[in-house]
């Protein structure tokens, strides 16, 4: 079971690295979702994976069954998923706004904050960018 999940983490990371190497910022973001899920699975595995023994304390006992999964990493994963979701929603909105305002998703063309060195000698006109949003 651990081996399977470990392989899955590997595949997810490989796929996400492939996506993140793309110039398109949106593909980069999709890569980001995959890799954050890979991280979540890593935490999940670290608390042992047991197929038929839920980490519940039986009635009348004080501790869980011996060999049951550790529930703490599962709680951590839940927190991480919630936070990751929030961050991703923000990042997606940001990319969308950037696409509206900059007119591109190509990260190579996003040079507004760092203009090409060639324009350095003459006064840069793009530096204090006019706010075009209504």
């Amino acid at each position: 079971m651990e081996l399977l999940v470990a392989l899955m983490v590997g595949v997810l990371v490989a796929a996400s690295v492939h996506l993140m190497l793309a110039r398109n910022v949106l593909r980069f973001l999709f890569g980001m979702i995959l890799i954050s899920n890979a991280a979540n699975l890593t935490i999940f595995v670290s608390g042992r994976l047991t197929a038929e023994e839920p980490p519940l304390i039986p009635y009348g006992a004080d501790v869980t069954v011996v060999g049951a999964a550790n529930a703490l990493p599962q709680a951590l994963v839940l927190t991480a998923i919630v936070i990751g979701f929030g961050l991703f929603a923000f990042a997606l909105t940001l990319v969308y706004r950037a696409y509206q305002n900059l007119g591109t998703l190509n990260s190579d063309e996003m040079r507004l904050a760092e203009p090409e060195p060639a324009t350095k000698s003459e006064p840069s006109k793009t530096y204090i960018a006019k706010d075009t949003t209504p």
Partner: protein, 501 residues
């Protein structure tokens, strides 16, 4: 006892809520100032408590460590919280005149307070996963502040900032997962002993490097710093200043914390990596700054360069080197935030931060020139300002340790720092203004002038005080470094005597 540890976190959060409710009126910005002042008071009280009693710890919700979440303050945490309070208040006052109403209505002050809460939380937590949560609080607030107002350069810089910081977060999270799998605990004090019992020390080093990368991105060390010079010069000056002062330093603090408390099992390996990183960070940062032609972009690259000095202190891992690192950390936050604030005033009265579009500030605004010289000289390491002592201690530590090359690098970088400071000086202050404008401070409205200049003057005074009377500060740094190297009191304070509550 737990309230004194929680207060520096709760006060900014409470202020954030109030500031958000009152964001449409002038009350919001004053609430932000009052909240920051309250936080400063709370942090000073915490500092007194820590000086008095040694390491202070509290279990949140009454769950005993290592099961619950611990808040803990040793001298390093306490001084970081105090310095957060000082810069936080200074920038909150500066923001009175700097932030336009449109951004206030979008919730600038609330985000600012949440940022301060996140920073304090990161300094005070004693739990690794909780540290992750505080990082996220800090990140989401900083994302908001960075793109607030949404002009195009901000969006451009914001994308780079957000994406690279998200990668660092994921690295951190994976590291936390793997470390928990190996040790079964996430409490920092508990981890201190738990890592000694890990069966496979090689795996531990792998996890250590994952943390190094995660915190390295936050601290903007070579080769992970690209997001910083791409984004720090785009938002409002107040935002630039607080980011420059505090955010990267949270990364440095976390590095110092985990590489003195947890990952000390293979010092020759991990700390050698850190030493190389420190050297390259210093050099690339200062060279990048030399190539820039904009007030704020030069300063942004200098943040990177200065981070190298702090990492150097950690990498040498001798008592004196850690004294230098702690001293540098404190000195740098004050100086760097101040330089950005000066850049903001220069932009207000001369029209730009682009160096070839401004000039003449020395002739018509000599007071501003004076206020610039103090932090600029301190950054470069001129005696008798604070930067001199910080650099002196670090270079001495490197020489004592036999690191002649790295000591030479540190000194050469100091020299190059002067080069880019003179570049700013020559262009912004001495050269006549290219458009013939005569920039004067009296062109500012009286109210704005006070709000802009008082924080700058206060921070400059602090720099001078640290520089002229360094002894108590060095003594303090010595005690803080001693606590870092001998974590027993820290562990005892968190876990109780013998590891059981």
């Amino acid at each position: 006892m737990s309230w004194i540890l929680a207060a520096p976190i709760i006060i900014p959060f409470a202020t954030a809520v109030l500031a958000f409710l009152f964001r449409h009126g002038p009350e919001g910005r004053w609430l932000s100032v009052i909240g920051s002042a309250g936080m400063l008071v709370a942090s000073v009280m915490l500092m007194i408590e820590v000086l008095d009693q040694g390491v202070v710890a509290a279990q949140m919700g009454g769950w005993p460590a290592p099961f619950g979440i611990t808040l803990v303050a040793d001298l390093l945490s306490a001084v970081m919280v105090v310095i957060t309070g000082i810069t936080g208040l200074a920038v909150a006052i500066y923001a009175l005149a700097d932030i336009e109403e449109r951004k206030e209505q979008l919730g600038y002050h609330a985000l600012y307070q949440v940022l301060l809460a996140g920073v304090c939380g990161a300094f005070l937590t004693g739990d690794l996963f909780n540290l992750y949560v505080w990082f996220e609080v800090m990140l989401i607030a900083s994302f908001g502040l960075l793109v607030l107002g949404g002009n195009r350069a901000q969006l451009d810089g914001g994308i780079k900032y957000v994406t690279l910081n998200l990668i660092s977060t994921i690295m951190f999270l994976s590291g936390v997962g793997l470390l928990y799998g190996m040790t079964g605990t996430l409490n920092l004090a508990d981890l201190h002993s738990a890592v000694q019992e890990v069966e496979n020390p090689g795996l531990l080093v792998v996890v250590a490097v994952m943390f190094m990368i995660a915190f390295g991105v936050k601290a903007a060390v070579f080769p992970l710093f690209f997001w910083l010079p791409a984004s720090y010069h785009t938002p409002a000056i107040s935002v630039s200043a607080i980011f420059a002062g505090l955010l990267t330093k949270v990364g440095v603090y976390s590095l110092i914390r985990v590489f003195t408390l947890i990952f000390t099992t293979d010092i020759p390996y991990t700390h050698t990596i850190l030493l190389w990183v420190a050297g390259f960070t210093m050099v690339t940062g200062v060279l990048g700054a030399a190539a820039m032609n904009d007030f704020r972009r030069i300063l942004s690259f200098h943040i990177v360069s200065q981070i190298g000095y702090m990492i150097l202190g950690l990498a040498l891992f001798t008592p004196l080197a850690l004294v230098g690192a702690v001293f540098y950390l404190v000195h740098h936050i004050v100086v760097k935030a101040n330089l950005f604030l000066v850049a903001g005033v220069a932009r207000r009265i001369a029209g730009s931060t682009e160096l070839n579009q401004i000039g003449g500030l020395y002739k018509t605004a000599p007071f501003l020139a004076f206020l610039f010289l103090i932090p600029a000289f301190s950054l470069a390491g001129f005696p008798p300002l604070s930067g001199f002592w910080a650099k002196y201690v670090l270079v001495k530590a490197a020489l004592d340790d036999g690191g002649y090359v790295i000591a030479g690098v540190a000194l050469a970088v100091g020299l190059l720092t002067i080069y880019s400071m003179t570049k700013i000086w020559g262009n912004a202050f001495w050269k006549p203004h290219p458009a013939g404008v005569k920039p004067t401070l009296s062109s500012l409205p009286t109210k704005d002038r006070a709000a802009l200049l008082i924080p700058i003057a206060a921070l400059a005074t602090l720099t001078c005080v640290i520089g002229l009377f360094p002894e108590p500060f060095v003594r303090f740094a010595e005690r803080a470094a001693e606590q870092l190297l001998n974590p027993e009191p820290y562990v005892t304070a968190v876990l109780g005597i013998g590891g059981a509550e």
